[in-house]
Structures are given as C-alpha cells and as structure tokens.
Symmetry: C2
Subunit: 423 residues, 2 copies
C-alpha cells in the first residue's frame, strides 16, 4: 500500500494528569519529523470537541509553548468523559460515528491519537475498527494516560509516577506535622487519595515508608476488603508506639460485604458510577468512636493529579516518549494499538515503549497483585516498593512568576470549520 | 544591672508551619554570637516538655542539621497546645508555674524564647510577669508564628506566606484541571483551607486571581457573613460564563446568624473550640441542590501548613530573622516583648523587625479589614493584593533523596535531668 499522507489529530480524554500535556508535546514534536504528516491539529475536549468540529492548529503554537506543555498539568486541549456507547445508546453511537468520520474526512485526518485511560482506549479501538469497516484509511494509536495506573499490559501509566511523588511527599510532610503535635493523647490523620477500583495511588505512597516508624503506617486499597477490627487494632498499636498514626485511604476502599465505605449512591457520574467521597471521614469517625482518638482528615482530590509543581521527571519523560512512539507507529502505517511502557531494568531504571493491540486494553482494569501486599493487607511489600521507586525519580523545573508556577496556555488558533453544525 | 549570663531555652508551640523551624535555626545561629549565652537548649513539645524537664542540647546538633531546619516543615522540637490557664484552672496553673521556674532555675535558663501564635504569646507574657514577680532574672521574648496571620501589630506572621504560596499554586493547578474538564454541564470545585476566626489564608489565594477569569472566582472568609442567595448567584453566573467555578472556602466561614457552616459542636479541641470540618462539603451539597451542578471538594488540611516543598523563601528568611532578632533583644536585656515584622516598602519589598509588648499581643485576634475586600464580599481587592504579593516570593530549594524531599531530623541529645519527675 502507498504511504498514507494527511493530517494529524490528537485529543485528550478522561481525568487530567500532571503529564498528559507532555504526551501532546511528544506527539507534536515527533510529528514535525515525518513528511507524511501535513497539518498537526488538536481536538478540543476529546471526542466531544471533534464531534463539534472544534479543532485547533497546533502548528500555530510557539515552540516555547509546546515545550512548556511538558511541565504544565491538566489537559491543555480540554478533555471530556463522553462515551460512544453502542450498548446502551446504539442510535446515538451510530450517529456519533458518522459525524466523527465526516469530520475526519473533511479535514483529511489520517493519523489519530487519543490520549486517555480505559474508556478512552475503548473509544480509540472503536474508531480504529470503524475506519476499517468504512474503508477510510487512518492510523489510530492510543496513548496511555491515567493516574489510576489501571491499564493492563503496560508496566505503568504516564501520570501515575507524578501523583505518587506528590502524594508521598505530602504524606511525609503531614507526618512531620502530626508527629510534632503528638503528645500523650495521640492523634490519627487520614489522608484520602484517588483510586476507585484500583489502589495503585494509595499503595504508591509506601515510598515514604522507609523505616518501620515512617508514615504511612497503614495503607488501605480497594483490592483488599477492610477488616474493621484488625484495622482498629493496628491504629491503636501504632498510636501506642509512636503517639500518632497516618493512614492513607484509597477512596474506593470496601468493606467485607464489598460495599464502598464512601459510596454516595444518590450521586452518579457520567458513566453511571456512584461519586465517592468521605471514605477517610467515615473511617475517622469510626476511630474516634471506637478508640477515643482525635482524628483529622485530608482530602487531596484534584490537587493530587494536577500537581505539576511536584511532578516526577521520569514520568514527564515517559509521557512525552509515549506520544512520540505513537506518532512513529502511525507514520509507519500501524493502527489499532496502544503504546505501552516496558520496564527494561530497575536499577539503573530503564524503560522502552512497545505497541499492544487496543482490543486487549479497552475496559480491562489492572489491579494490584495480592502478593504485592503484606499478608495482613495493611502495607505494600518489597515487590511493590521495587516497582514504584524508580517512577517518582527526578524533579521537574517549573518556571515561576511572582512566586507562582508559570504554566503555558495554548493560543488555540481554530481550524476553519467545513461542516454544518452537529445536529 | 550587670549583664545577664546563662543558658538559653527555645520551644515551639501550637500548630506547626512550614517555617517554624527556620525560627529555631535563627535563634540557634544568633545565639552562637553572644557571649552571655552559654548553653543552647531546646524544650520538647513546648511548655509540656519543659514541665517534664525534657530538654535537649541544640549545641550538639550538626551545623548542617541546624541549616536544614530552614527548609524542614513542622516543629522539629515538637509542639503542644497545652495552656497555663489561671482562669479556669488556677490551682493547676500555679503548680505549673512553680514547676516551670524550678526547671528554669535548675538549668540556669536566663533567655527564654517561645515561638507561637496568640495562645503561646499569652503563655510567654505570663512567664515574663511571673519571672519579675519571683525576682528570677530571665529575658523572655516571643517569636511570632502562625499560618493564620492573626497576630496583631506585626505586619504579618511567619508561616503565612508559605501556606498562601502553596495554597495559591494548588488552586491554580486545580483550576487548570477543572477548567480542562468543564464541558457544557459545568462544574464547581470547592477548596477548603484553614482559618477558623480569620480568613487571611483563604483570602491570600487571591494572588492566583490575576485576571477576571482566573481562579479563585469566589473566596469566602469567616469575617464576612455568607449571603447564601448572592453566593449561589455568583457561582451560577461564573459557571455560565466560564463553564466552571473554583471557590476557596475558609474553614470558619459563617452564616448570617453567625453560626459556623461546618461547626461540629460534639467535637471540641484542647481549648474548647469546636472542631471544624466540612464547610466546603456543606456548600457543595447546597450548590448541587440549588443549582443542579456537579461539585467536587478538596480539603487540604495539614498538607497546607506542612508543605515545605513549596514554601516562600521570603517567609523562610523572615522566620529566621525573627528568631535572630529575639536573641539580640534578650541578649541586650530586654524582656516581655514579641518580635514583630515591619514592612518598610512594597516594591522592592523590604521588611525589618521591631519589638512589641507581649501584653498587647496575647489573645488579640487580628482580622482582615473590611475595606480590603470588594463590596460584595466575594474577593479581596487591590489593597489586599498589594499586601500579600511580596510574601509569597521566592522558592526554597529543598534537597531530595530518591525522589522525595530530604528533611532534617534533630539528634535530640537529652540534657541531664536535675529534678524529680513532675508530680
């Protein structure tokens, strides 16, 4: 087949991370090296913006801005949680697909990159198959992104190392604070972190636990059902020994009945999952009630995934590499794959990228292996520590202005629309 | 009177900050320059440790450790919220005072420095007067410390600039995240920050609001009663305009009846104040109910006051200067004063230190002037901005090890006890 020539479209999807923009930078910088790629477009707000033909010309951005994307958190192109759902809404999904391919065709998009997590890789996979079905020549490559680190087949996901680095530093600082305040009454601080189905983010904070006395003293993850009695005993014993206890709580932690400790069933997100809040608050109340201990909670929420000021430079580099690898793959005619990270060695740490079929990625949730946790289920063990350590290495130099981080904002020069507005 | 010669004792009290250890470094480094000061002791856990004769020898610490205190958050000597309360518990208070002076005398303490906020300055004042009453020659100087910035007479308090710098950077990052996710349904994120009586911390995040569209879009402080209708309308209008809204909520925000929106009257702290939690959660629920908007909350809690990794270098320098100024004052025979910061000029920013009588500091709460806020009460105005801007300037270089901040820990070489244990 003759080499495919045409325009590139990259879009971001799902929850932002500290390094998802680094992947865009990787795509743009690599794209410049390939003659088969003509225009470099960005789609605003993921699939949603593409449906609306909201494309911007990334070639119009200053080189400095593209470089600045490497340290700018959140999604510079905007993102969405919109899903093309052939199961629940087949008619809408079919209409959306028609519209997407009208947009692709109108702008001669031949290289499409979707940066996102499980749901987004599913979308990329559907678009890949649809392109084949329609006989529309286009190379579709997924770029992994998720703080949750729950994509299968890749050693880890861009975004994960940075959230762990920030959270672990935060837990370390909180522990200094709580420890300094700890007098005879004792104190317990619960830090709630993200992670609904998988506990990678919570477990990752174990990097701060370098000696037995270091926080976090307990880490609760959704994969391991909470044994209330054993948990309370562990808190009690820790406070007896150190006069304080720091617990990291993954937001999706469940009880023995499999119910989320913080699920709010009256509040559903766009995918129909219940919004979680308050796992740490609920456990804090339990500790106060059963042990008579003063508790405080911290809920890092969006702060943790947006903390560009304390991102991991390993993570930033890998995110950019994944973007670049995606472009190389597409430019060589490959489609229907996600870029994955392969760990070459732990020490010194080295990784490379490979491709993996999208069909084996989409909607599969990668959980923490049970044997990466201690038997009692309260702390990740050495296997986990060996895995996580290299991923938080290196600091990113974020320029500052008037004492605050100076992040870049895209000019967003619009690509002229060629279609009637979406009906 | 002949020059006083003897030993120095420094202790830390109340909630830790990112720079309270810098004040200890300032004390220790300055003390080395004065011949009248013989031993340099630290009291563990504030007054509580002194009552227990838990003193450590700060001369035994490595010079590098003392230098490292400048970037190490939380209270390296430990702290307490113990109060010598002559009103509620006169007998205990009298017994405590006797014991304190036994300890001072046993260790020939002639220079006493207490680093803390309102309650701690009150304690320092009581000790100063007690020394006079007892004819015990000792110079007592208070060193200001509080993230709350609510001490009177000083331009601002060490600890305040750093919490604002970290919170403002965090709000800026959260806003990038929420803004990137904002599609047509709109979204509102509420960030709860510390500040029970005074709203300085919440108000400080206005440094991130450089254009009309920048977050925070609304800042709620305890000083200004929340007008529910006007607040909801402001959120609605902001979401209509930008598709998202970021609200910074001071934990102590009150309704028109003067009731704290988050007060938990069943949970009191050591001083009998109700523990606050959930102002942002409560307002989030209100917004969802009245405006049908999706809301998310972030509760930074202890993370904000312990965030040494993003401290203000102006703040660190001033905290150290206050410690040094306290030693100079005491060494020259002065007692019964707190060091205060005097602003010499805004641009370029310059400050100096002076002394202020402790009696005029203790238990007085300095609130934000009403005319430093816009008329509608939803954002601080230019007067506030001019005040806050210089205080967040400069980044502190924290060394790292394996990807995490490398903070120092004191050796805590104990001073031999000379008294029987406290009864």
């Amino acid at each position: 087949m003759p080499e495919l020539v045409g325009n590139l479209l990259v879009a971001q999807s799902g929850g932002p991370t500290a390094v998802i923009n680094a992947s865009v930078a990787g795509v743009v910088l690599e794209a410049g090296k390939h003659e088969c790629i003509e225009e470099i477009y960005g789609g605003l707000n993921g699939i949603l913006g593409i449906l609306n033909e909201d494309l911007i010309d990334l070639n119009d951005e200053k080189a400095k801005t593209i470089e600045g994307l490497k340290y700018t958190p959140a999604a510079a192109l905007g993102t969405c949680r919109y899903k093309i759902d052939f199961t629940k809404k087949p008619e809408n999904a079919a209409r959306d697909m028609d519209r997407l391919f009208e947009v692709f065709q109108a702008h001669n998009i031949r290289f499409f990159f979707y940066i996102g997590g499980n749901d987004s890789q599913d979308t990329a996979n559907k678009i890949h198959h649809e392109a084949i079905k329609r006989g529309y020549e286009m190379c579709v490559i997924g770029v992994p992104k998720t703080i949750d680190n729950d994509l299968p087949h890749t050693d880890h996901c861009p975004g994960f190392g940075s959230v762990v680095k920030y959270n672990a530093a935060t837990v370390m600082e909180i522990a200094l604070d709580v420890g300094a305040m700890a007098t005879d009454d004792g104190a317990c601080c619960l830090v709630e972190v993200m992670g609904r189905g998988a506990g990678w983010i919570a477990a990752g904070t174990v990097v701060a636990h370098r000696t037995e006395d270091d926080a976090p003293h307990i880490i609760l993850v959704p994969e391991i059902a909470l044994e209330e009695e054993a948990f309370l005993e562990r808190v009690r014993a820790t406070v007896e020994r150190l006069k304080y206890c720091v617990v990291v709580v993954g937001e999706g932690v469940k009880n023995k009945q499999g119910e989320e400790i913080a699920a709010d069933k009256s509040n559903l997100d766009a995918f129909g999952h219940p919004v979680l809040s308050g796992a740490a608050d609920n456990l804090g109340k339990l500790i106060t009630k059963k042990l008579g201990l003063k508790t405080r909670t911290v809920k890092l929420g969006y702060a943790q995934r947006a903390a560009g000021h304390y991102a991991s430079s390993v993570d930033v580099q890998e995110a950019a590499s994944c973007g670049a690898a995606a472009v190389r793959a597409a430019a060589s005619g490959q489609s229907g794959f996600m870029v994955k990270i392969v760990r070459e060695s732990d020490s010194p740490y080295r990784s490379s990228t490979e491709l993996h079929p999208l069909g084996e990625i989409a909607n599969v949730e990668h959980l923490i292996p049970r044997d990466w946790f201690t038997e009692d289920g309260f702390l990740p063990n050495e296997k986990f520590k060996d895995y996580i350590k290299p991923l938080i290495e290196g600091e990113v130099k974020v320029p500052t202005e008037n004492g605050l981080p100076k992040y870049v904002v895209l000019e967003r020069s619009p690509v002229e629309k060629k279609l009637a507005p979406r009906s």
